[in-house]
């Protein structure tokens, strides 16, 4: 189980390849990639800056992965979250889960994303043609978490 917070981009193909080859008995890998949308709230986004709480972020992500492990028989999981300034269509986050059977990998991957969205201390500030503004948390993210 690996958690990384980094400014650099990540290589989905290489990361998932490593994950699946290291997970003996894995038949399925589900992965989620979040990217900076080219349109957000109707305004053209010029860039997005991600701030985080060093130390707590890694602990929160690790705790989220540990919860997923306790709930589903997953073989391996990887979370990479970027920080700093990103451009439209840049990758923001990767969550990948390997398991013997696909249902567990789908559930655990979505669970990790839903918890990450509401519990991991990251904040997004958007620069658009209208200036800078902090993004507000979405009620739908809290609803998504409450399902589990």
């Amino acid at each position: 189980m690996t958690v990384r917070v980094q400014a650099e981009d990540f290589d989905l193909g290489a990361e998932v390849r490593q994950l699946r080859l290291q997970s003996a008995g894995a038949g399925a890998v589900v992965s989620f990639v979040g990217q900076v949308r080219d349109l957000n709230l109707g305004e053209n986004v010029a860039s997005l800056t991600l701030e985080h709480y060093p130390g707590m972020t890694e602990k929160a992500l690790q705790a989220i992965v540990t919860q997923a492990q306790a709930r589903w028989p997953i073989l391996n999981a990887l979370v990479i979250h970027r920080i700093g300034t990103l451009q439209p269509l840049d990758q923001i986050v990767l969550v990948a889960v390997a398991s013997a059977h696909r249902g567990d990998a789908f559930a655990a991957c979505e669970f990790i994303m839903d918890y990450l969205k509401t519990e991991a201390p990251f904040w997004k500030k958007e620069s658009s043609s209208k200036g800078e503004q902090w993004l507000e948390a979405l009620g739908t993210d809290h609803q998504a978490r409450e399902r589990w």
Partner: protein
């Protein structure tokens, strides 16, 4: 002493990344918020009139009744928006 940290929009509104505060006795998060709100102005707005404010003690999310001990790291921030 406790260490206070402010993040994101809160950091900008308070014009502070954090501070150290003498901590002679164990109080809870609600009491710390009242103490900070008493500074008035944006402090009053953010710590007394902002139901969306989140708190973490020693890097774990906590509710307002969490007790803060001498030496703790206490962070305040808006709802998270990562992912």
């Amino acid at each position: 002493m406790i260490t206070l940290l402010y993040f994101a929009r809160l950091r900008e509104v308070l014009a502070s990344e954090g501070e150290s505060l003498p901590w002679p006795q164990a109080l809870d998060v609600a009491q710390l918020k009242r103490l900070l709100a008493a500074r008035g102005g944006v402090w009053q707005q953010q710590f007394a009139e902002n139901p969306r404010l989140r708190a973490a003690v020693n890097q774990a999310l906590v509710a307002d009744n969490a007790v803060i001990e001498d030496g703790d790291e206490v962070a305040f921030f808006p709802p998270v928006t990562g992912g």
